[in-house]
Amino acid sequence: GESVGLHLPTLSVQEGDNSIINCAYSNSASDYFIWYKQESGKGPQFIIDIRSNMDKRQGQRVTVLLNKTVKHLSLQIAATQPGDSAVYFCAEIPDGTSYGKLTFGQGTILTVHP
């Protein structure tokens, strides 16, 4: 079946370091990818998205890279701060008549140490 997964379930970094969170997906027809951040007790918050016709997209302190050849997605966070500590999910919306259904990865726990 189609799935979206993460290579590393946990990631610990020092404040100020750059963080890289990885995600593999299996549906080569996927059209749209989203990264979410979820803090304890809250719903997922949109961070950044990318469409399949792009390789890279930058936001404020975050960059998403998409490698369609190996079906890999990554989220880079520059100068990581303690407030970045959260669970990070990648998600995909397959192309076609999916009505926007998301398929989520399991999540990576990012811990930022002061």
């Binding site: 719903g43 997922p44 918050q45 949109f46 009505y99 926007g100 259904k101 998301l102 990865g105 399991q106």
Partner: protein
């Protein structure tokens, strides 16, 4: 900003009760979704709706039903709550050009 509002943050219900979880969005979005989130299982889609009075089963619809009488409101119904439905429930909506937005979640405990 798109707002997706879930009526309750925490709920405690008894086994066998009928439970209603309400979700309202204020951006005229066509698509609305209900997910549940459990440790080790991630987010799983229960039901979704792409228009008023339209509904489609997601990956785990058993034990649930939904109602979409108005475009802005999507209700999740547990016909007879069971302890294995204790979970965090997340509503989301999606519209053209607006992306995908989640509510803050309802943590339901069935005792």
């Amino acid at each position: 900003d798109v707002k997706v509002t879930q009526s309750s943050r925490y709920l405690v219900k008894r086994t066998g009760e009928k439970v209603f979880l309400e979700c309202v969005q204020d951006m005229d979005h066509e698509n609305m979704f209900w997910y549940r989130q459990d440790p080790g299982l991630g987010l799983r889609l229960i039901y979704f709706s792409y228009d008023v009075k339209m509904k489609e089963k997601g990956d785990i619809p058993e034990g649930y039903s939904v109602s979409r009488e108005k475009k802005e409101r999507f209700s999740l119904i547990l016909e007879s709550a069971s302890t294995n439905q204790t979970s965090m429930y997340l509503c989301a909506s999606m519209g053209q050009g607006d992306g995908y937005t989640f509510g803050s979640g309802t943590r339901l405990t069935v005792v």
